[in-house]
Structures are given as C-alpha cells and as structure tokens.
C-alpha cells in the first residue's frame, strides 16, 4: 500500500520580478491513512502553500507529490477538480459556505459535482449533518447560524463525499477559544473514527490536539514527529498549563 500523502523534495517558488520567494523550500513528508497531523509554523512560513499543494488546488514548482500513490503532475484544472471532489474534504478558516444556499444545499455541493442523484445527495447530506449535530438546521441559511455552527456545517460538507483526507486550514482561527476547542474535539473524534486529518495552524495549543506535528519555518521542515517531541508545544505545557486535549491527563485529575 502506498502512503496516502507523499511529498518528495517539493519546492514552490513565486517569482516576483527579479526576486523569487521560496514559499516551500524542499519539503518531504509522508502521511499514512488514519493519521492526525498538524502542520504548524509562523505566518508566512508556507503552511497554506503546502496545504494548497496537498489539496490539489495548486501544483509544485519542483518535486513530486503523490496522493494515494498517484503523482499529481500534468493534470488539467478539470482533472484536479475531480481529484479534489473524490479524495479531499476542505475546512476553511472563513467556513466558506455559500450564503444564498441553505445549509443542506451547501453540504450537497460536493455530491452535486460528483454527479450524484438529488435524492441520494439529500440522504448523504442529512447523514453528514447528523454527524455534526446540525440536522435540525438543514433548511436554514448560513447567516442564521453561529460561527461554530457554520464551521460544523463546513465540516459536514467536507465529510459528505467520504474523502480519504480532510484538510483543515486554520479551522479555529475565526472562533473564540472555547468554540475552537469544541471543533478540535470534533476533529479528534473524526480521527478516532478512522479519518485522516491534516490540520494547519499557527496556534500551538491547537496543534497539541493532533497526534503528529510537522513544523515549518521559512518553507523548510524543522520538526516532524509526535506531539510530545515538539519543543515549542511541550515548552508551553511545561509552563504549567494543562494540555487541553490530553484525555489521559484529564482522567488523572
């Protein structure tokens, strides 16, 4: 079985006139099925660029990216759209729900573009909404929901197509810390149910909820390993705070 996500010496270089920005500067990683990875780094370090490539929204300048063992090179926009539709689920910082569509219509969108029958779309979308506990809001418009609820709708949308990988770019960025933590708990649960999750954040306390951390600085990976091994995250814990997602620790108190 090939790894689910595999980046080999990937570069993303933006040319701006004479100068060029190495947003990704030779990145390699492998992510297996069932993992929960947090990609962390400061603003401008290249996290979003990395996610765009993993999410098939963008292609690398150099290097190899394989998704499910399939090299993502030389695909047309439409072929990339199909790969996104079949294998990826996105969760964005700004929820990115379409305001004039109802909650269920928003959740149906990836199924619609997959060419599914309307009745089947509705059935799946309702199941997905049920998983995030918002079945009762199916007919509402996004503007009638709180931020946390909207983010849950976008999670339901990401889940609807039953993707191999869920990509979340700063999913808690627009939420207060309590709601943010709730969303995090939910992602952890999805992971326990077998979903592969790649989370992008600059917030160490959020990153601590993942199982594995990949830390990027200036487009290079500076740490890749379990949460416990990451100096920055652990330093924070060392400061006396209780690790918020450490269920074992919670159980002990």
């Amino acid at each position: 079985m090939p790894p689910l996500v595999e980046l080999k010496d990937v570069y993303k270089i933006y040319k701006m006139g004479n100068s060029s920005v190495h947003a990704l500067d030779g990145i390699s990683m492998t992510i297996e099925k069932g993992e929960f990875v947090a990609i962390v780094g400061q603003s401008g370090s290249g996290k979003s660029t990395c996610m765009n490539i993993i999410g098939c929204l963008d292609v690398a300048t150099r290097g190899v990216y394989r998704l499910n063992g399939r090299a993502i090179t030389n695909y047309t926009q439409d072929e990339l759209a199909e790969i996104r539709n079949k294998t990826l689920g996105f969760i964005f910082q700004q929820y990115n729900l379409i305001p004039k569509l109802t909650v269920i219509e928003n959740v149906q969108l990836p199924l619609l573009y997959a060419g599914m029958r309307e009745s089947e779309q509705r059935k799946r979308a309702l199941e997905s909404l049920e998983r995030v506990g918002l079945k009762s809001k199916a007919g509402n418009y996004p503007s009638q929901l709180s931020g946390g609820q909207q983010q849950r709708v976008s999670i339901a949308r990401a889940l609807a197509g039953n993707p191999s990988v869920i990509l979340a770019d700063e999913p808690t960025g627009a939420l207060d810390s309590r709601t943010g933590r709730e969303v995090m708990m939910f992602l952890r649960q999805l992971n326990r149910e077998g979903n592969t999750i790649i989370l992008i954040t600059h917030d160490n306390s959020i990153a601590a909820g993942a199982k594995r951390i990949i830390r990027i600085t200036d487009g290079k990976i500076v740490y890749d390993g379990p949460v416990e091994g990451d100096v920055t995250v652990m330093k924070m814990h060392g400061a006396g705070e209780e690790a918020p997602y450490d269920e074992k620790a919670k159980g002990a108190t």
Binding site: N52, G55, L57, D58, Q77, D78, A81, E82, R84, N85, K86, F90, F92, N96, L97, I98, K100, L101, L109, P110, L112, Y113, A114, G115, E118, R157, G161
Partner: protein
C-alpha cells in the same frame, strides 16, 4: 444537474431583484419595439393586401395615352385576344369615363359614370343587391341603362331605385341594377358609382374611341403572360410604345409591398441595435456578478466544480435574465400592438412567428453575451478565487 443550475440561476436573479430588473430593461424595450413594430407592419401589409384583393391582384389596366384618332386599340381586337387566350385572360372590359352630372332636385351630385361591358361587374367582383347588370344586348343596342351604387340609390331615390329613371347630364337612363354596398355608402366611396354600357359612354364623349381597358388574368401566376399578350397586341395595333401604357396591379402591389417590407426591415434593424445594446448591458452586469462572486466560484471549484459547471451556471443565469426580459417585452409589445390597432381601427395582432423569433433571439442574446463573463468565471484559478474578498 441542469435543473439545479436552473434553480441557482433563479435564486441569483431573485436575490438581486432591482439589478436584474434594470438589466432586463434593455431587452424588454428592444423586444417590445420589435413585437409592436412587426405586428403593426404586418397589420398594415394585410390591410394593403386586402385592398388589392378587392380590386383583384390579377387586374391589368391598359391606357392609350395618345389621343390622336389614328391611334386605336379596337374592342374587337381585345375581344379576340381574350377569347383566344382564355387560359391566361379571364376577361376584359373597356373602361370609358364620362362626366355625369346627376341632379337631385336642385343639387348636382358631381359624379362621373363609367362605361363598361357585360363582364365588368363580375370581373370587379361586385355583387348585385337587386336587378341585373349591364348585358351584351345593352352594349350592342346602346341602351340607356345604368347600374348604380348604394350611395347614388340612397341620395337620389332614397333607396328604392330599381326601374326608376336617372337623369345623367340631362339624358334619362333607366336604373336596371343596384350594387351591394362595398364601402360605407358615402360620397367618393366605391358606392358612389354609376355604370353604363361602354358604347353609350363612348358615344357621349367626343373621341368615340376606347382609350382604357381593364383586363383580368386568370390568376396571379398568369399576370405576366397576360401582360405580354396585351403588349404584343398594342405593338401590332399602335406600334409606338410611348402611346400606351400597361400597368399590372400585381406590379404595383409588389412594389408597395416591397416598400412596406423594407420599412419593416429598417424598423426591425433599429430595434435590433437596441437589442445589441441590451446584450452589452447583460454582459456588463454578468462581469460585475462574476467579480462579486469570485469567492463563491473558488469555493465551488475547491469542492470539485469543473469549468463547464461554472460556465453553465453563469450562461444559464444570463440566458434566463434575458429570456424573462424577452417574455415581458413580448407581453408589452403585444399589448402595445393591440392598443395601436384599436386606435387606428385596424386588426393588429402579434403573429406567433414574431413571438417565437423574439423569444429565441432574447435567449440567444443572453447566451451570447453571457458567454464571455461565464468563460472568465470558469477559468478562475481556485486559490486566487478563494483568497478574494
């Protein structure tokens, strides 16, 4: 999928009611103009056609313009021609106008009488209300009889004229027939007419020769053939073609129709320009709409929308916008045409053809002018689109 696209287009149009209305306005005005103008012109055309049909589109009039006594087209020759070529010529009649001062007590009804033969009334599709028409015997014996229209009958005799005597320029004529009303029984209408045997009329005038004929071809298709037969006869009898002229009603009708047609074409062309302007308006609004919805397009693409999905969505929206405008325009235009018809006392109704064409054209405008903005939307890069706000 298409149904979904359709629904989304409706939603998008409704969510921007005021703007949608303004965008449609151009199409509405253009289609209203097209429908009402075309209907009006069609009404006018059918009015003219009716008028010609009354006279008979197969009629050919022959006039001898040279009044010298040596120039003549004898009735015998015309009669022979008509009989020899009965497959082409249905009939003919001399038409001799004689001044006719008809007195009603002290009033003079300043009318004129026309001398004709026994075929005239049938050829001209007159119907007799009572009595009989001019007969061959009347012509041969130069009987002083007349057939009159309802206006004369009403004015002189108060209606009951049959068998009475009409004084025409002091000469008594016996009224043998009254024609059915054809116009509105007023002075100058077709009901203000008096027909007498042409022999009598020719005798009354100074020249005594026949200068005008009316010839009827068997049908519209044989008009040209009849015309050339008459031409040959005139050439033989008269020679110099400056001395006579032959005018076919069909040719007049055709040139009049040609004028009406080109007028219609011109008006439609002006309306078409307004439709192009309207199309540009739609394109403009669709471009704005694409820019406004860049983020939405990015979201859809990130979820797997292909270029054609986005393209269909926007083209559908533009097409629908202009179709709705088209339907409103068709309704307004029809009402305008019917209203104008009432005012002009004409029977004007928009034709099914013009409605179908207008609808198709408005749909085509939407699709055509919506395509470019939609293409732009479809080609958007998903990352840039997602970052846009």
């Amino acid at each position: 999928m298409l149904w979904k696209c359709f629904k989304m287009a409706v939603q998008s149009i409704i969510s921007n009611k005021f703007r949608s209305m303004l965008t449609m306005l151009g199409i509405i005005i253009g289609i209203t103009a097209v429908i009402s103008l075309v209907s009006l012109m069609e009404g006018l055309t059918s009015e003219v056609t009716d008028a010609f049909e009354e006279v008979g589109i197969e009629a050919i009039s022959v006039n001898i313009t040279n009044r010298a006594s040596t120039v003549e087209l004898p009735v015998e020759d015309m009669d022979e021609l008509a009989r020899e070529h009965s497959d082409v010529i249905r009939g003919y009649s001399p038409s001799v106008t004689m001044p006719a001062y008809i007195k009603d007590g002290t009033d003079t009804l300043n009318s004129s009488a026309t001398g004709v033969n026994e075929q005239y009334i049938d050829l001209y599709q007159y119907k007799l209300m009572s009595g009989r028409g001019i007969t061959y015997i009347d012509v041969e014996r130069m009987q002083k009889v007349c057939v009159i229209g309802t206006y004369i009958a009403k004015e002189i005799f108060g209606g009951n004229a049959l068998g009475k005597t009409l004084q025409i320029t002091g000469v008594p004529y016996r009224v043998v027939g009254i024609l059915e009303e054809r116009g509105d029984s007023t002075k100058g209408s077709e009901d203000d007419s008096v027909y007498v045997p042409y022999t009598v009329a020719a005798h009354t005038t100074n020249t005594r020769k026949i200068n005008n004929y009316i010839v009827y071809a068997t049908n519209q298709e044989t008009v040209e053939a009849a015309e050339s037969l008459i031409e040959n006869l005139c050439d033989k009898d008269i020679g110099d073609d400056d001395y006579y002229n032959i005018i076919a009603m069909k040719a007049i009708a055709e040139s009049l129709m040609g004028i009406l047609d080109s007028m219609e074409a011109m008006l439609v062309a002006i309306a078409a320009i307004s439709l192009i302007v309207a199309g540009i308006g739609i394109m403009n609004i669709m471009l704005v709409s694409v820019t406004e919805r860049t983020r939405e397009i990015g979201i859809r693409k990130s979820l797997g929308a292909k270029q054609r999905n986005i393209l269909t969505q926007f083209v559908m929206e533009a097409g629908m916008l202009s179709c709705i405008g088209g339907v409103i325009g068709i309704i307004f235009g029809s009402l305008l045409a019917i209203g104008a018809g009432k005012l002009l006392d004409m029977n004007i109704l928009p034709t099914l053809n013009s409605i179908i064409v207008s609808f198709t054209v408005s749909a085509a405008i939407g699709v055509f002018f919506g395509y470019m903005p939609a293409k732009k939307a479809a080609a958007l890069n998903p990352i840039d689109a997602l970052r846009y706000d």
